[in-house]
Amino acid sequence: MASIKLKLPQAAQNAQEPITHSDGPIVTGTSVLGIKYKDGIMVAADCLASYGSLARFRDVNRLQAFGERTIIGASGDIGDFQYVQDELEKLMIKDFCLADGHELATPHVYSYLHRLLYSRRSEMKPLWNSYVVGGVHSSSSQRFLGYVDLLGTTYQSSTIATGFGAHLAQPLLRKAVEGREDTLTEEEAVKILDDCMRVLFYRDARSLNRIRRAKVTKDGMEVTDPYSLETEWAFAEHIVGYGA
């Protein structure tokens, strides 16, 4: 497994060599997709955590709720994501204990994540992830959909796709969503995401057809249980050299 780098503790490294930190991700999650639609934000990710090319863990949750109205989807290193989850939980507990009626809204969580990732990249100890942060404001009903990655790059858009999805799904999402953010129904949004996740499953070798989907509206959040996408492989029979 030559392409996989171990994260060695400092002591284990040769003293002669320069200190190196995470050279790359190890257990990884692939694309996360996010879109705006009429009632709010919808995000989807599959349940796979790969170890290089090995489909290692097949029931992993890469969608993390923060409070009632913020959803965070993670791609990249799963270990780093779990560390970030811990940090976010600490933040949430601290916030809860103050009990002053102020809760961190989606843009605030987004800002916190951005600062965390940027400071870690500046220490040359990156948290190897790309995040999609989505949410709806509790009183103004304003929708928010943003992206943050290991470099601290940030942008907001009505469609976001990380990883492989940036190449394959993003064009499809833009065609389906851009200019229709205020009219797309929930059913249409579900279909768009399911279709894109299916395309990714067909072409992204590090993906799975078992996915989770979350929606955030002004009334709150719903994350689906994992479900499988219908796929069609009959055409494979006609490909020479494939199958029987």
Partner: protein, 260 residues
């Protein structure tokens, strides 16, 4: 007040269960000129009386901007106030930096209290000799808070601290029912009337000796000083002059009026 053997430092109890140094610090607040803070459902206002050491001198600064949504008025040791207002400013900046959020007033209070409490517990330190009234507007609306050297903060509808501030509190207690729906201009006038009540007989509010500041929803912290105060002061002169509440309130003496 008399010296005793239990007031040499702030971290020694008296047998009566008192921290004398802390109480002395609270007295320092009363040495400063008066400041008044009050709020409606939409705005919060600070009004302060400024002193000048002499005819050739400028007037002191009583109001400080902390952020676009927070302002603070001070009474007591000005040098301590500078330390605290700088702390408040850096807390506000930290919130903006980390969470991209204007610092909630309650969080500011928590931070202030934590900082001030260490001063009255750790050996060799002294309490801050200053009282603060700070106003602000956050997601939960407008607020008025008081900070005292005992490391306490309280939230108020309206409050006054500093020398002769009891008279201002009396005015506020008598009239605060009208504040919640008051327009910003009326709120400022109420503040000025409360402040006027703290003046000695021969003194008057003028454009030099007072400052006003306000914040509100979609209204960044704004300070009014000098000639810009004229319209408010003129409006004050036109109503019943003297140390009385406006005619609209006809209650008797307020319950807390204890001074002669």
């Amino acid at each position: 007040m008399f010296r005793n053997q239990y007031d040499n430092d702030a971290s020694t109890w008296s047998p009566q269960g008192r921290l004398h140094q802390v109480e002395y610090a609270m007295e320092a607040v009363k040495q400063g000129s008066a400041v008044v803070g009050l709020r409606s459902n939409t705005h919060a206002v600070l009004v302060a009386l400024k002193r000048s050491p002499g005819k050739l001198a400028s007037y002191q600064q009583k109001l400080y901007r902390v952020d676009d949504h927070i302002g603070v008025a001070i009474s007591g040791l000005t040098s301590d106030a500078r330390v605290l207002s700088n702390f408040m400013r850096s807390e506000a900046m930290r919130s903006k930096m980390l969470y991209d959020r204007p610092l909630p007033l309650f969080r500011l209070s928590s931070a202030l209290v934590a900082k001030a409490q260490a001063n009255i517990q750790e050996y060799g330190r002294r309490p801050y000799g200053v009282g603060l009234l700070y106003i602000g507007h956050d997601e939960t609306g407008p607020h008025v808070y008081e900070f005292s050297p005992s490391a306490n903060t309280f939230e108020y509808f309206a409050m006054a601290i500093g020398s002769r501030s009891q008279s201002a509190r009396t005015y506020l207690e008598r009239t605060f029912d009208a504040f919640s729906d008051a327009a910003l201009d009326d709120l400022i006038k109420h503040g000025l009337r409360a402040l006027r009540d703290t003046l000695q007989q021969d003194k008057q509010l003028d454009t030099l000796n007072c400052s006003v500041a306000y914040v509100g929803k979609d209204q960044a912290y704004t300070m009014v000083e000098g000639e810009d105060l004229r319209p408010f002061l003129d409006a004050l002169d036109s109503d019943h002059s003297g140390n009385a509440a406006p005619s609209s309130s006809s209650q008797g003496p307020a319950p807390m009026e204890t001074e002669a």
